[in-house]
Symmetry: C2
């Protein structure tokens, strides 16, 4: 494709996206289309032409993909913890994809590596990590948690786990609210299902610090070699922030590694109003921070930060003559400290978004979405036909609808929540999800879009009421 053809196609796509963005902002899109999976495959068959598509076919293809996708740019997308990406970040990803520079070795992406280094320093400073901290960017929180656990393993297994391998008795203590990627990482590492030893959470779904000691004793009594504690900031289901300072005290006393899964919540460090929720994170040995959640970037841009920079390369002690010069770890050959070899030029998105948009927009985004969640919680508390699961720590709100009128059986009420979720989604105007809290199904809202208004929250509660009336007719 010639540069001029690229220019023309690029303008055409940008125009289509801008028009689509306007419609999403106007709330005139189907937020979450729900075709049957097998039917949708018919629209995207597994056969391809030999020759290129025409301009009209190209445009039609883009339109189809836009329409068959979930509309995160709609202010009425109130579901999962995925961002409505900043338009600047979309353009930065275009730049990244165009350059296709990696970061495994410095010369595969000089700017990419330099931006990664600097932006990690910025994030570490925001968290209050000490001088000598450092880390890496990687493709997602799951990989981030795996990387942190690898470093924990190498530091605390008591032998050179990387070289000698490990027995299946290793484990971490973690609350029941921990994201499933931690259990997944532990099971990848070969520690089995008991590799995560559960610590009870309190009434607010935060880790019960008093339960840590007994959990440690019990795990050891069961023959587990406990390497550390995984804390949540915040948890996935309810957004609960574990009491990091108390957990850090415990880890210091027991000489355990502290890993904080801040995939969702580490971004709170950008907000002067809310950063107090993170007190204690500066004492963590490792932190995972997803910039594609509350930093409004497209997935995936995850930072893994270590209290001591040396932990990162220690986890991956390898040499390859065609890549590294064999002189050992340095900051600029990032392949020495990631699971990944070829890595996307994700630093351009994070560094570039901070540079092009300035820091204030990120602070505002935290403050605004957290305030909206409080506002929704207040509405729910003030509505006799809604039950709030828990006062929200951040921008996640879980609740149940209990229709006024003749009381429903516990079973009917339980089933109703799931039916409401399906109904709301199918109507296409709003999108929410659900979660099970201590066995009971709840509706779940996450406010990720800075353009969501109070009126959208009112519309949600009204839509739920109307759907319930229909379902109970």
């Amino acid at each position: 494709m010639h540069p001029e053809a690229f220019r023309r196609s690029g303008h055409a796509l940008i125009d289509q996206l801008a028009a689509h963005l306007a419609r999403a902002h106007e709330r005139t899109v189907v937020v979450s289309p729900s075709p049957a999976p097998d039917e949708l495959c018919v629209r995207y068959p597994a056969t391809f032409p030999m020759e290129p598509a025409t301009e009209a076919e190209t445009r039609a293809f883009y339109t189809r993909v836009l329409d068959d996708s979930t509309q995160l740019h709609s202010p009425r997308f109130l579901g999962h913890q995925v961002s409505a990406p900043l338009p600047e970040a979309v353009l930065l990803e275009t730049l990244s994809a165009f350059l296709n520079n990696g970061t495994g070795v410095f010369e595969m992406g000089p700017a990419s590596n330099a931006m990664e280094r600097s932006v990690l320093g910025f994030l570490a400073q925001k968290l209050g990590l000490p001088q000598g901290s450092g880390g890496l960017l990687t493709s997602g929180g799951s990989l981030g948690n795996l990387t942190a656990l690898l470093a924990m393993r190498q530091a605390r297994a008591g032998h050179d786990a990387w070289t000698l391998g490990t027995s299946p008795d290793l484990c971490v203590l973690a609350s029941e609210e921990t994201h499933y990627s931690v259990a997944r990482a532990v099971q990848i590492l070969g520690w089995g299902k008991k590799g995560v030893w559960p610590v009870p959470s309190d009434a607010a779904y935060r880790m019960d610090v008093a339960a840590l000691g007994p959990a440690l004793v019990a795990a050891r009594a069961a023959g587990r070699h406990v390497l550390g504690v995984v804390a949540c900031a915040g948890s996935t289901a309810t957004g609960a922030f574990d009491p990091l300072a108390g957990i850090a005290d415990f880890c210091a006393r027991e000489d355990l590694w502290l890993h904080v899964d801040g995939a969702h919540g580490a971004s709170v460090a950008m907000s002067r109003r809310h950063r107090g929720m993170l007190v204690g994170i500066e004492r963590a040995d490792s932190v995972v921070w997803d910039a594609h959640k509350m930093m409004m970037l497209p997935a995936l841009v995850t930072a893994v930060l270590f209290r001591s920079e040396a932990h990162a390369p220690a986890a991956f002690a390898q040499e390859e003559s065609y890549l590294f010069d064999g002189k050992g770890a340095n900051w600029w050959d990032s392949g020495l400290r990631t699971v990944e070899c070829t890595k996307r030029m994700m630093s351009a998105e994070l560094y570039g978004a901070l540079y092009l948009r300035g820091t204030r927009v990120f602070e505002d985004h935290i403050d605004r979405t957290f305030a909206l969640a409080q506002s929704l919680a207040t509405r729910i508390t003030n509505s006799p036909d809604f039950q709030l699961a828990i006062a929200p720590d951040c921008n996640i709100v879980c609740f149940r609808h209990v229709p006024s009128g003749p009381p429903l059986s516990a079973e009917r009420l339980e089933a109703l929540q799931g039916e409401l979720r399906v109904r709301i989604r199918e109507q296409g105007e709003l999108y929410i999800v659900q979660t099970r809290l201590r066995g009971r199904l709840h509706l779940r809202v996450t406010i990720m879009n800075g353009l969501t208004k109070e009126a959208d929250l009112d519309a949600l509660l009204d839509a739920i009421r109307a759907a319930a009336r229909k379902l109970l007719e």
Copy 2:
């Protein structure tokens, strides 16, 4: 950012990229800028303004990143196995980033999931895998190899490894030419350094099939539990394709899992002329195929294909109430079969590139780059001052320069190769890498850019000769 502002900024960036692309094609860019890492950080400081950048600052930032990056679009980038992405693929990534749809659960990306399903079917069919095969897309070959090894572990460990964990005696047989991500994956899994039991390669750097039996006996005698064989199609250093049919015979006889790392070479399936190199791959239990190498996509788009689709979810037996409906594995909730939870909408790039460009361009790309590598090999063979390491299997050529004139000592000649590599890079007109083959340093060329011409290869050999004259002055 308003849609109209996005449109204007988008056009501006596209214009900048188109102009840059033209310069890259004209070979007037510095192919691989080589500032000192710490100096470059000064240009990308770890501090950010509070307020947004102006249009002029934005433009200057893009220019700086473009100039400080490695220029894969230059036809004189002859280095690592990373693609000069198709401009259409860059635009498809823009679409993906804009939509930011995931694939963990179907409703997080209906089109994304449907395209993933279909394009995996297309790839499996290209490889000749049977009905009932299936797989997933994931972020890169390292993660792909890890995922395949997880499935292998679950299928062949002899117990429920996912639930019960594993002892450190598991291992795979693999040639010494295997990419380091396989050893890295094995060591992540906790099998230690001996988790990869080496199988010697022959004079052409292909796995020596006759050595498999003795390797199996030796590994078992050393107390290792051998789960399978990892074969290369092709290897990273020289691009050697292991004899897959012979290896498949061995695996069938010994009841071992066959994993083929086709990160670089599986794309050969697109070429009628060259696909014979892959005979035997249709008998693999798992295959990794990086679409961001020879399929001209930006990183990362990796397919992991399983002979039996059921192997993928078997590796990750988990349930989460806020994500999955608990009804067990289905094709459309892809989070059930990946290491990743949130995943990029990478199917849009692969499906879209095949749809928008048609299949012929991919076949032509393989044929053209392989022919150019042969042409370079012929030039080297015909030049008394160059030594070809090995007749290339694909588009990777390794060689040494042996300047005419008074013979150099073996040590001097060895050091000279590394110095030539540095000198060529620093001159900025061409980019090549180096690799160590059986202890001896070689220059290494990979032809990844469809616009590279015979004249570029002549220019490379001339530049090496000229650099050697300078260095030996």
